[in-house]
């Protein structure tokens, strides 16, 4: 069975780009365009991995991560922050909010799948 990856991202091009890469590598991608939708879809589908943009409208990625971790069914699912935030301390903040990893934008197509799959095994 194909593994499910939930991708929460408000930028359409980014959503398309990452979805395309993941699907080409055989994953099923569940797209969500804002935090609340992402939380709802995560509860419904219980994915194998969640990719989370940090700069989201209305509810930022840190809050989304904290919210996701409150659901016991989602407690052990890896959440990887994908963000262009590059200020010192962003990584720490993401980890503190409950994320398991951190991929910096712009993504490196050559290493992106490696970075994702490190959290799947």
């Amino acid at each position: 069975m194909r593994k499910k990856i939930l991708y929460i991202e408000d930028n359409e091009q980014n959503l398309y780009l990452v979805t395309f890469i993941l699907e080409k590598h055989g994953y099923q991608v569940i797209p969500a365009s804002d935090g609340q939708q992402g939380i709802d879809l995560a509860g419904l589908s219980v994915p194998d991995l969640i990719l989370l943009d940090i700069q989201l409208p209305r509810m930022d990625g840190y809050s989304v991560a904290r919210q996701l971790r409150l659901d016991p069914r989602l407690a052990d699912i890896p959440i990887v922050a994908v963000t262009s935030y590059a200020m010192a301390g962003d990584r720490e903040r993401a980890l503190a909010a409950g994320c398991s990893g951190y991929i910096e934008k712009p993504i490196n197509p050559d290493t992106f799948m490696q970075q994702v799959e490190r959290h799947l095994c």
């Binding site: 080409k24 010192a88 934008k105 050559d110």
Partner: protein, 564 residues
Amino acid sequence: MTSARRFWRAPLARNLAVALAYLATARLGLTLALEHTNATAVWPPAGLALAACLAWGFGVWPGVFLGACGANLLALSTVTALSRGAVLVSLATAGGNTLEAVAGAWLVKRFAGDAPFDRIGGCSLFIALGALLSPVIAATVGTASFALSSANWSESGQMWLTWWLGDAVGALVFAPLFLTRTGGGAPGRRPARVAEAAALVALLVAIETVIFLGNVPLEYLAFPVLFWTAFRFGPFESAAMVAVMMVSFLLWTLTGLGPFAGHSANHTLLFLQSYFGVAAASTLLLSTVINARNRAEARVKEYQENLERLVDERTAELRLTLDELELAKEQAVAADHLKTAFLATMSHELRTPLNSIIGFTGILLQRLGGPLNGEQEKQLGMVKNSAGHLLALISDVLDISKIEAGQLTVSSETFRLDELVGKAVQTIRPLAERKGLTLSVEVGEGVGSMTGDERRVEQVLLNLMSNAVKFTERGRVGISCRREGESYLTVVRDTGIGIDTTQLDLLFKPFRQLDSGLSRRYEGTGLGLSICKKLVELMGGKIDVESRPGEGSTFAVTLPAAAA
């Protein structure tokens, strides 16, 4: 200036005034002269002439001389018929009077200054030089002319003494009267002051009534009144009170009353003169002391008030400055927040489009979108390189902006330095191989975990190594890492173009890619090394460089193994 004042400034007017005043005061002196003598107990013109010379300068001497001639003729006419001899005596004596005034004024000005009644020293000198010494001149000249004209020297001694004392008392009593002003005394409301002065005069009259009508030798009772005046009023009022006392004493005595009368005329004269001299001198000295003290007190008070006002003003200014500083600080903090927010936004906004460019180029190059022909692959490779370069530039510019804004911070996490070096080498190796350079790596056994900002350490290593590759055309590039005590020493070596010694200082300054000729050959912002230096310093380390042009460069990075 009013026309009246201008008139009194004219020398002629002044001389005329002095002459007339001399005559008038002489008339007063003669009125108070003892009967049947040409000697007066007091010679007020002596004081007037001295005061005129002190106040208006020596230019008034003709007025003094003229007044003195007239006064002497007037005096002589009361005792003898006017003759040629009498006129000559008058002229000679007037010469003595004039010389006395001019010499006295010169001495006082020279030794006691322009304001002799401001200080006790000046006042003492005025008494000694102006009132006691200079009358010697007039007394000597006058006595000599009289003796010469009458060819009789038998009474000269007595005459000299009374002449001298008369002029001395005249100077003591009247010169201060002309030279001082009202208002130097203790503070108080005007009606109260007037009442006090009137009471003092009344007291003096009462005392004199007792002394002269009762004919009791209690002359010293006048002193308390004079001293009281000196204590409570200024030098002018004191001099005036002395004058009032003197005139009234003389009038009483002239009517034959009181303890001074009833002796021989010469004795009476001497008693009165010495009494007036002592009274005038002590009152003058006392009033000067009191006045000086009062003025000093006023100055201290004024100084204190000024000081208090100054302190108040400064305190207010300081408070204002503090408020302004507080405001400026708030604004600076607000500006700081704004800067941070701006940098974060820029960082995000600049990277987002790059994500698409780099991402889709990568997808296409990985054939995820389908097969590519040779040209397409070559062109997409160029897009990929340019995008990577643009990303590096943006990162550098953002880093420098953060440094300039004081916003650059490093995180602190534990990672393995040996693994990080390996990772950096992996990234650089393809670049070195493309240029045909040997890449050597040497990691010591003691190199392991370190605490710092992993991403930033990687950035520094990548920067130094890619610089080494960039500036080396043939030979080798090497990186070595070893532990030295509490620090790790990482050295990046190359056999490249090297750096001129004179340019080493500029190496770590932002926007400096050395030698403008080179900057065309090697692309880059010239920001990398200044960022590296800042990053290393933020992690508590340092970065050193050694280089020889044409032989190569060595960059040594020292970083603490544990968190700084």
